[in-house]
Symmetry: D2
Subunit: 504 residues, 4 copies
């Protein structure tokens, strides 16, 4: 896979050593893995409301879940969550999410007749949120048995985990687990008597990695891996290149529909949301420079232009640069406008795009944020020097103060603004979850030989199917080809309608 797009996800290039497929990489600090979170951030809905409702309840219970004895109402204790009693509240959140994930619900309906995942034993490792719960329960409805752990030590919504456990899903995760807990939970998912997974759904590659290290024999029964994150996909490509990938893997991160939503459509809205929630600024008349005119940059530019900002663009790629021109943006080098702009937004997938030198030249009050990837685009480290004062003025908002009193407003300490300071709509997560479900179905049902020990993109046709499952949300009516037209175009009436590389 060539990977140079300036999207939010093109992280982890040349990711250094930790991918060396050795246990050592588990030593990394968990709370410093911004890349890994990638686009898979959490919808606010439950986190906030649940915090409101249960904060007292949760905070005063300091016993580790590993040390607790809990049973669900059916008597099972094959799970480990913060507090099984929170199940009811979590169930309500799941029900609300179901309303906004019509594609998965449609899959469930179709599954009433056939069970495409009958016999599937899926072990999963993802963020555990209401949206994930809808996915897991959909997989169950399609015939699969699932066991689940969290892919991030902070992102589990305890109430949702409780609801899953209550409904019989063996889930092992809680918010704020330690690194040791993290691997213990994963191990509890796979290391079970009388149960061996035959499918893996991973997000970041940790689960896959663990099985590789600890239970390599398990791969004999595994039919495939579905991986969603940039990081995890990168690990898979490395394995593949090294000839060590021993089952087919599906890269769902790069499916067209998911990319368009993760980058263009989602960022078009979240750039406005993230800036408003953190700074309450007015967009009208503001001068903004957007670094990078890939899909993320295009979304940011379009939104800000529509709100009356004056937008400049920087680019390294002449084709994207020409697009910026044709779309009505002045293409500049950052240096040319750095003194005059009110906002600097990075969307490059690159590093050190905004340097200390740039920061030194910005005007008082300039807002700096990152919509691109990781936390490398702005050289935040260069601001940790004695002559500069940092003042935390609000959650996720720092004033960095120069000796002459100039203040730069740094958002989310240079991490992804939209993940830190805004929320991802359930609809976007629905597209991802549907893509994951279809990838699992495809890999599980593929005839012998269709997939080898390699990394695959979701077939175009299934990508189109994901899209079609989301059209009813918009009351959108697709036109069907007549036989004559299909023949004229040389197409199958049911698609795929475009070549695989089509991404306009």
């Amino acid at each position: 896979m060539e990977r140079t797009e300036s999207t939010q996800d093109t992280t982890a290039f040349n990711m250094p050593d930790w991918m060396q497929i050795q246990f050592a990489d588990q030593k990394r600090e968990f709370n410093k893995r911004p890349t890994k979170i990638g686009r898979r951030s959490l919808s606010r809905s439950i986190s906030q409301s649940s915090t409101d409702s249960y904060s007292s309840d949760s905070s005063d219970d300091e016993t580790s879940p590993r040390d607790k004895q809990q049973k669900n109402s059916k008597g099972s204790s094959d799970f480990c969550v913060k507090n099984i009693k929170q199940a009811e509240f979590g169930r309500r959140e799941i029900e609300i999410a179901e309303q906004e994930m019509p594609a998965l619900m449609a899959l469930r309906k179709r599954a009433q007749g056939e069970k495409p995942l009958a016999g599937a034993k899926i072990v999963g490792c993802t963020h555990i949120t209401a949206q994930t719960a809808v996915l897991i329960e959909t997989l169950g409805a399609l015939g699969a048995q699932c066991r689940w752990a969290a892919c991030n030590i902070y992102s589990t919504l305890n109430e949702v985990a409780a609801a899953l456990a209550e409904s019989g899903v063996p889930v092992f995760s809680w918010k704020g687990e330690s690194e040791d807990d993290f691997w213990w939970c994963i191990d509890r998912c796979v290391n079970v008597e009388g149960w061996q997974p035959n499918m893996i759904l991973d997000d970041g590659g940790d689960l896959t990695h663990w099985i590789y290290k600890k239970y390599p024999n398990m791969f004999k029964k595994i039919k495939g891996i579905v991986e969603e994150s940039v990081t995890g996909v990168h690990r898979l490509y490395q394995l593949s290149k090294a000839g060590k990938l021993c089952v087919p893997a599906m890269n769902v991160n790069d499916s067209v529909t998911k990319q368009k939503f993760d980058n263009l459509y989602c960022c078009r809205e979240s750039i406005l949301d993230g800036l408003k929630r953190t700074t309450d600024m007015m967009f009208g008349g503001k001068q903004v420079v957007v670094c990078g005119y890939g899909e993320v940059g295009k979304g940011c530019c379009a939104a800000l232009k529509a709100m009356g900002s004056i937008v400049y663009v920087t680019e390294i790629d002449p084709i994207c640069a020409l697009q910026a021109c044709m779309d009505g943006f002045r293409l500049v080098k950052l240096n040319e406008v750095i003194r005059q702009v009110d906002i600097v937004i990075t969307c490059t997938g690159n590093k050190n795009v905004v340097t200390r030198e740039h920061l030194d030249r910005m005007k008082n009050g300039c807002i700096v944020c990152n919509m691109g990837h990781s936390n490398t685009e702005i050289d935040v480290a260069s601001l940790r020097t004695p002559e500069l004062t940092w003042e935390r003025v609000r959650s996720q908002v720092d004033h960095v103060i120069w000796p002459d009193g100039k203040r730069i407003v740094l958002l989310a300490e240079g991490r992804l603004l939209n993940l830190s300071c805004s929320t991802v709509p359930t609809f976007v997560l629905s597209i991802t979850a549907t893509t994951q479900a279809l990838a699992l179905i495809e890999l599980y049902n593929a005839p012998e030989g269709r997939y080898k020990q390699d990394v695959y993109l979701l077939p175009k046709k299934m990508d189109e199917y994901v899209a079609s499952l989301h059209l009813p949300t918009f009351d959108a009516h697709l036109t069907e080809l007549s036989d004559e037209q299909a023949k004229y175009l040389g197409l199958n009436k049911n698609g795929p309608f475009k070549p695989n590389y089509y991404r306009y």
Copy 2:
């Protein structure tokens, strides 16, 4: 090549019999080849002004150029044009075009040191316009010898042909030549004593075809073919599939930059222009349905939405359909809105998208036009029935009148609106011409073995180079990667910056 995009160019696929590589296909009617013209229409600038200036002059001279004795001022008579005396006027047009084709002029400048086409003997067959003249003279400046014929019997601008002949280019073409003249001119280009072409620049494939039929041995010396049109590219792929392609060929039609300009950017402007020039209608508040949401459809929709029209979209591809939804257009089936819309625009690459049944249900005054391809998208033939009256109300505008008095306004008889009723800006033609020049340079200079007897896309890096040559027009300043950044991204500092399939 997979071919299902709903762009303006996806014509002629499955084109039935005429590609049988037999002389018979030359019998087709020349003025019924709308596909062949494709996007390569002519800028109005010269056609109109020259017509104004010379119409009397041209019309009263009925002698065939083949029967005339003409010499240019240097005494050469190795050309055949309408009237060599028109050279001065043609030269002015070429000079004006030069001002708007900065990329070719930049190539000329670089050619002062090196001559990348030194030794090249190029035979060309394209529309003969001021823009083409700038290309031909640029090829000359790069070191090539050129001989040229027209690819269309109507499109030659006589004054430009005269100016080329006067400056020493052997050019054989005039406006309104007969079919017999057409092939005679081509033959005069290649059938010369003491000169054999080693490069072909073709537009439609007729020149290539002629050499295949008449002088197959010439291919021994030919290093490559550069083909620009959809039709010609299709013919080449057919030859390749049949194992009959005996030199490398470059498909410049599908280069990214060209496609973006031909489809998205150009149509965004020409849909407005074409509708205004033909109907003087007001866009604000009008209800419009656009069939097809590929690049052409996206351009049309964006422009009309911006002008205050209410736009509906039809699509067969769920991914494009979802994009239409996210961009703010109601996705409908044509039947749902056909009674209420003021304008119907086809952009599908398909056939019979607008049927007689649809036409019967449209409201009085509804405007119908085609921005897609060919003349098949609207079933115009179905309107040639006795009960309907056709009234030509203006050039390119017909009222088709139903027995009850209802009038449908049909533009350009269902042929491409933007080719028939608006003009193509020189800037778009500049991108095409630059792409052609670079493709010639690449094929001519490629080391042995880089290209086999197959059809190739322009290398990504050259596509990027075409784009970069057009940035100065916008006073656009490209950012360069630092060494550190290039390493981080795993890129060469000079590109290519994206994978080949990248088309966002």
Copy 3:
């Protein structure tokens, strides 16, 4: 009337001496009255098609209509037109116009019951076009007797005049009449035995002026004047100020609906149309400066921004300037950007906004045009100097060439671009014509004392009525207030809904 808006119509302020209400002003050159035409330019539809059809017919008949004996089919010879035989063709044009003027047709329908203009004897002096014909015949349907002359010696469409004459309207006008003919025609309208006008519909004030000078006693029977043009309204205000206005007059030029359409909506479309038709330029990426951010400027800026141009604005009024900022345009002084822009557009209502000094500093190929008013905004006179060469490259397009070869592209010699180089949609003319009809009805039926010898704006309620008559075109459904809501708002359920000054 306070008059400082930078709209297209704010012409002629401080108009010097010719308004001195003396016969002398008739000596002015008729073809140099760009202001007078104002926004009421002609739809192209008939002019072009009729030219096509009848050019030979018309051109070979050199007899002055004043010297011809013509009768219509009913035997009447109370008219004077170019050629009564062209009536049939003109009738078709009128019928086409009727289709796009639904408001007048709606008025005709309502008139089947009551005849609000029964007894009205209207003398009119306007452009004579298909749209005017629809107005005149509507006035007839409402009960009025009309006699008509042209307000401009060039603008009469002979076929339409013939059709009116054939249907029994005494019309006196032809295209290309002399100045002497002009006044003779007006005189023939008013100087009739046994018929005296009681209403005047004027466009420019010439008819009113003629009656003042020649038949002042006629005003005893005249109930009112309806005047549409900026110039004519100005003359009326001068008369009023001088105490010489002896009947009520209605200024229909400044009604809200008309202004919005004449300025914002119409210019939003015609700026693109005018630039394309004259220069075939591409808008994407072009740098444009728009001088003036009134309604006209707002329309131009919005359209160009939507097409991907980069737009700068100049303003003198800080409130409009702040709006430009909030709408996303850099507010600059012309000097700051004059060297870099590709297009300069004036929309100020002012004079010498673009000076020779600015023109000297523009870059090669810069396009300069006027969308504001008159021909004073660009100091064109300053370009008539020996060192500059003018080259007419196309109708309405001049290249002005500096000694160093730099070319400035001047459109329409600095006159209004949209009047010279694009057309006015019938829909805009429909709003004007409906406003005129309602103003006539209002003045004719107003109870004694409602209007004094002064200049009035159309009552808000009638302005709203004009708007409501045009809503069906868009299939638009107005909401009605409930009794409770009307009471809550303190409004009459039928309007007016806004205070008189409301213009947002």
Copy 4:
């Protein structure tokens, strides 16, 4: 003043009995005065951060400020605030606000030479926020002595009040004061020995009312009242109509600049912000109906259209309706689309625009909110019936659940969304505060006789001055008229540039 615009502020029409100028109206419930707050909501910046920092501090101090003995560092105790020790934190907030209120800071600079408010004794009653503090201290810098109370029992930021008290401003207010406290604070402002106000700055009319009731003689010395709120302005017009207004009053609510920012520009941003913060919804592809196409509606529609929503509009006024059409929105009656839309937004200034019948027909998940005025636009009361269940899912977000399980998402219980669920940028408040300052200067310095005992709008020229003071924020450069141009336009070079009624 005619007041029927459908803006956010057109509240209080036919406001019933409480304006009877009797003490009784003080009995109204304070927390039910949504109208009064109007647009003057609070920037979040301080409220949130201060809450974060001081919540513990504030909450454990239950002593009423009236019972405390506090002195500032200079020994003065002529104030009553929650806790004088919070001054330092409040000062920082004021300093941050100063950075975003450049116009007031510019006024301070000019005041170094002249003191236009020297001798002024201003009593003020407004929200007490950082932005107000900047205003108060600016008035001080201009020469005035000020005493201040709060116009709302909840809106005082205690830290800011402390900072003002510390710097010597006698301020009487705290957050959460009782109704009795409210009037006690106002009385402490005006009932002072040896000090009598000669100017009033009011926001809601309570202060004015109190003086009328208690100290009518004070009006002998008072030069004028500046009132900002719709409610207060309404009370003044009532007083004026009743002949009881005994000093000039300036209505700053209706100045052009303020209206544009309060309605069009601010709502364009806050509709997106308010919806995102409450629902995390995605805008792309959503169907939205906006009731009312005044300035607020225009802003909402433009923003949502730009974000890819499909927007329908309802209107009662045909002129605004026609504008909606021309801007590209389908004009419908609410009933036509109520079943299909995802969001309903009211912007009418009317009552019961969304009725129970509409609510019954909405689809599951439909979001309903009010951007217009007050809390009357949606008939929320009709939802308080036994068969419907209310569920508070988040702050300001209720699910109203029908017996069949359908949920309607009601925001802010039908009160103004942007006041309840988003924040007002400081820049908007800066425009208001500057307008207030200039109005005070104008009234205080006006020559005898310029203003009578009536309600006035801010002179156009001062409105323009407010705008010009805000242009530097955008680095915007105003063009100046030349003498020749000013003469041509008949304008003073320094303005005013437009007639008073100009509001485009």
